[in-house]
């Protein structure tokens, strides 16, 4: 009983803190909004920040699948690929030949230079919506075979899908649909349109609009995440994560709930993929690798599975390590400090591996653990996840 009372107190405390949390979030957002003015319009810090922003959206999407619903997805890269190819297909001259025999293009809601190019050119918002629709369909398709499986088996099926997506992207020039091929094969689809929202984006002149666009996307995604978590659906996800059989017997529709988790997580990944695609200006088929899935997974694990703020923190931390610390700040550190004849970039994989191992052993619950998990850990509720106990 004491444990239950304690939990009730903590929950009441949580509700009180919610408003202060909102205030802090608004303040952080405001600071983040004005941050670019401290740096030049083309500074590398801003570049890192834009990657971080994209990865936050990826990580928040994966957090729905892995953190909320407890479905270990190792094929998240598939949604990055589909999202990125959405902009490659609907925001470039890729389909030039297919439209009116290459004489004119299809333009919806685009102005400026893109309005005069051949191929399909949609407004960035429409492309994001298209990406989300495509990825959520793909997410549901990937989810379907895993419905009867659990744990590691889900991980393997999703991993297989991710690998298939990567291989298809890499060799998609063999797949002909009418006159055109699915992807550009080993080469990249480049360039793609830059967004034109209020102003024409141009990553050669000013990176700030990309950053702000990303921030707006994050704000929307955060609202989606919080309202999903506190909704009936969110509670159903957590129930499935904690005990699938119990959840099913309490009337949680397993199939629908799981597929919704896959679809929604995938949709967010698709939007981030479209964003990153337009920012990098090249849909390069070689970037859709397993390591991407692990990179995003590492973010949510570093932050604390299921914890929304933890995911944000984890995504920022790993993006900064990946984009800034390893290639620039500590690039020559192995040589300077230890006299070794390689750079930090050459051992970035090893560094990540080491961080993953260290993190799991030192703090498996993550930097900012989810409140519910913390309760479970400290008050011993439902902590029968391990199969058996062996003294170390």
């Amino acid at each position: 009983m004491a444990a239950l009372t304690g939990m009730r107190d903590t929950l009441a405390d949580f509700r009180r803190r919610r408003w202060s949390g909102l205030a802090i979030a608004a303040a952080v957002f405001a600071i983040a909004w004005f941050l670019p003015y401290l740096y030049g319009p083309l500074s590398s810090t801003l570049d890192t920040a834009i990657y971080a922003v994209a990865y936050i959206i990826f990580a928040l999407g994966l957090n729905i699948v892995v953190g909320f619903a407890g479905l270990l997805d190792l094929g998240y890269v598939a949604f990055y690929a589909i999202g990125a190819y959405s902009i490659g297909w609907f925001g470039s001259d890729w389909f030039t030949e297919a439209i009116n025999g290459g004489k004119s293009g299809i333009h919806v809601g685009v102005s400026g230079q893109a309005a005069h190019l051949l191929g399909i050119h949609l407004n960035f918002i429409l492309i994001v919506i298209a990406a989300m629709i495509l990825t959520s369909i793909a997410g549901a398709i990937i989810g379907l075979p895993t419905l009867r499986l659990r744990g590691d088996y889900i991980a393997i099926v999703t991993l297989a899908f991710g690998e298939i997506a990567g291989t298809v992207a890499l060799n998609g020039d063999a797949i002909h649909i009418g006159k055109f091929t699915l992807t550009a094969g080993q080469t990249a689809i480049s360039p793609v349109d830059q967004p034109n929202l209020f102003t024409q984006f141009d990553n050669a002149l000013n990176l700030r609009p990309y950053y702000w666009l990303g921030l707006v996307m994050i704000a929307i995604v955060l609202v989606i995440n919080f309202s999903l978590r506190d909704s009936r659906l969110g509670r159903a996800w957590i129930a499935i994560r904690e005990d699938e059989v119990a959840a099913a017997s309490m009337g949680v529709p397993l199939v629908r709930t799981k597929l919704l988790a896959y679809a929604m997580g995938a949709a967010l990944g698709g939007s981030a993929g479209a964003f990153l695609g337009t920012y990098t200006q090249a849909i390069n088929s070689t970037q859709f690798q397993f390591s991407f899935s692990i990179f995003v997974l590492a973010m949510i694990i570093l932050g604390g599975l299921g914890s929304i703020w933890g995911t944000v923190v984890g995504a920022i931390a790993l993006s900064v390590i990946n984009q800034q610390l390893i290639p620039t700040t500590f690039h020559t550190a192995p040589h300077d400090l230890f006299g070794l004849n390689f750079t930090a970039s050459e051992i970035s994989f090893g560094i990540f591996g080491f961080l993953l191992v260290l993190m799991m052993i030192a703090r498996p619950q993550g930097l900012v653990p989810e409140r519910r998990r913390k309760l479970e850990l400290t008050e011993g509720l439902a902590s029968d996840e391990s199969l058996y106990e062996v003294s170390a």
Binding site: L72, D152, Y153, S291, F349, V357
Partner: protein, 364 residues
Amino acid sequence: MEAASITGKPLAATTPVAAVRAFLGRYGLIILLAAGPVYFAIHDLLQPSHSLVKLGNVLVAGISNGAIWALVAVGYTLVYGIIELINFAHGDLFMIGSFVGYGMFGTLGLTLTTGTLGLVGGLVVTLIVCMLVCASINVMIERVGYRPLRNAPKLAPLITAVGFSFILQNVGELWLGGSQHGVTDLIRGSTHVINLGGVTIDRQDILAVGLTVPLVLVMTTFISQSRLGKAMRATAQDPEAARLMGINVDTTISLTFLIGGLLAGAGGLIYALYQTNIWFFQGFRAGLIAFTAAVMGGIGNVRGAVLGGFIIGIIQQLSDNRIHEVLGKNFGSEWTNVVVFAYLILIMVFRPQGLIGEETREAG
């Protein structure tokens, strides 16, 4: 799968639909696996030459490739059987095995001009070193990365496994660089030894199968006959009960990793000699393929893993050599991964317990 555990054994089929479903459940996977070879056999027999030589050569190559996957798959299946962990680092351990083999060729000074006796002796030494190095790395990884996490949520050791996989890959990359690396064809692998009406069996095929089969036999005998092997099986079945019966669970798990590492090391050396081409990324793909093999045979089941290895090897070779006949000339061996993973997904969906596996705690 909770429905299956409530009703137990499938009831006798009463309706035609249920009968079809029961039939597909039992034989679907076997039909699916046999479809490829049977199709090509009929196809070839209908050709003017009426010859199965082409298919036979593909099968030979498939079986010898499969022998390598079998060695790696056994490591997966043993570890999964005992601690229910997909040891992602295992494929990269296999890669390290190849690299150690390559390094040993240099250290021992084995070249194409080395005499037969010296070559055989050198290869035996290399094999032993490869096996021991991989086994010690595997045991060490278990000690550092998995043992502290026995009571952690299941995701934790999986993540450390991925972490070790990255570390090993990076070691390989620093060791021999990021590109493919040629290995001297010490055994002159493509020398024909046996010719069965056009189907040739080369030295490399004999090496792969001739090394795999005894190793696996020794290992299965060890698991089924010895005291330690019995402890392994008991721990796999119920770790808690095994501990109550006085089995040292930690030692038993270490032993499992030791055996897995030994076989991965041997597999790595065979791969280096067979393919005469190694690179740091080979382990990742090999790991996934071998895991597919383990799942196909029924994870936790050693004989299943070996069978699965051979089947996957054949599927790969069929796909490598003949996929373009089915899908068109644009599709070549680069699509083999898609074929293998599609099989993996189909098995997972329709027969997660594999060909001859019993239901594991996870899948059941």
